[in-house]
Amino acid sequence: MKHGSVLLFVDAVEDEDAWILIGDARHRVARAILPPGAGEGAWLRLSIDDPPPEVRDLQGRRAQLMQGDPGGKIKL
């Protein structure tokens, strides 16, 4: 799945926060979201990606668990 992407610049890193520039606009994000090795001055490309394998077919797994739901009022 290919989508558009956004180019980001890591402007500053302070404690647990990172400041990134998208164009001229400065945004604060958690430092934890930076990829390993990305420090001040790094350029990052943010893009939409395919979901990881562990979340594929969650609706199918949910439907399996829901088998036997008779519908209607539930009495606990």
Partner: protein
């Protein structure tokens, strides 16, 4: 005084004491109606609400984020609520579901319910792992479905909207499960993270939302709890589940709209315990443990 008169006085005194003792014993006990207990657990940013029925059934609505799990589990054990009779997930944001995996693993649950509105995160995947591993059956949360909790307590699902809301900036919140608990003449509306669009759907469909207590939608955000919605609900007490130091939850605009209503926040009060006994609502909090009315 003659000896006979003294004897009479003593007899009278004894008779009076006996009558007094009997009358004390026969004083009627204060009326104690079976109540639904609702614990709005202090979990910081997120929701986790335990509903305990007069017959000892326990329903957990949401489970806070993953860091909230110890607090949620402690609250469940305090009520001897394990295993839970049901978990109801209002929507799949991590601040509502993150703690549920550990709840399923460490407390147990007989049923799990959520809506089919997809939001496929790893957090939800891990919850499904736990449900599968512990063989917890899943039930579909859908508009109008009812859950009998016993002792006359009934929870009715007023959401998710049907059909789902498809256009919204925050589409997961927009499709939250909203539910209304009723026992006798007292009631509590759990708004999940529903926002203005979902509230309007409820009002447009003439859904009965009037409730004694409101669990304020989306932690009191500015985009929830419209004036029209609050007018329709007309709560006597509004409960906000929020984190300390968060100036937007509740938002000052929301508090202005709630100015006629007593508001209690978990961020200020800690866990909030409510009793709904069919006639009256009382509440106490971690910070103020004496029982109060709204």
């Amino acid at each position: 005084m003659p000896k006979q008169a003294w004897s009479l006085r003593i007899l009278h005194a004894l008779a009076f004491a006996q009558v007094f003792a009997c009358s004390r014993m026969q004083l009627p006990a204060p009326p104690s109606r079976p109540a639904v207990q609702v614990d709005v657990i202090s979990v910081g940013a997120g929701d986790a609400i335990l509903v305990s029925s007069p017959t000892g059934k326990h329903l957990l609505i949401d489970g806070g984020d993953s860091e909230a799990a110890p607090a949620v589990l402690a609250a469940l054990r305090q009520r001897s609520a394990c295993p839970l009779d049901m978990i109801l997930l209002t929507h799949r944001h991590a601040d509502h579901l993150g703690g549920l995996k550990r709840v399923v693993e460490n407390c147990g649950a007989k049923l799990f319910m959520d809506s089919g509105f997809a939001h496929d995160s790893t957090v939800y995947a891990h919850l499904l792992d736990a449900l599968e591993k512990h063989h917890v059956p899943l039930r579909q949360a859908e508009l109008g479905r009812q859950i009998e909790l016993g002792g006359g307590a009934l929870l009715t699902l007023l959401g998710p909207p049907h059909p789902f809301i498809e256009k919204s900036v925050d589409i997961v919140n927009a499709n939250s499960v909203v539910s209304r608990l009723e026992i006798g003449r007292t009631s509590m509306l759990f708004a999940g993270d529903a926002e203005a669009q979902a509230e309007k759907r409820l009002l447009d469909s003439n859904t009965a939302v009037r409730s004694t207590v409101l669990k304020v939608g989306h932690h009191g955000s500015r985009t929830s709890s419209t004036a029209e919605f609050l007018r329709a609900v007309s709560p006597r007490l509004a409960v906000v589940s929020n984190a300390a130091g968060d100036s937007k939850h509740p938002h000052p605009d929301t508090l202005v709209r709630l100015k006629q209503t007593r508001v209690v926040e978990t961020a200020l009060e800690g866990t909030i315990h409510l009793d709904l006994d069919g006639e009256t609502v009382t509440f106490r909090t971690e910070q103020h443990p004496e029982k109060r009315g709204p």
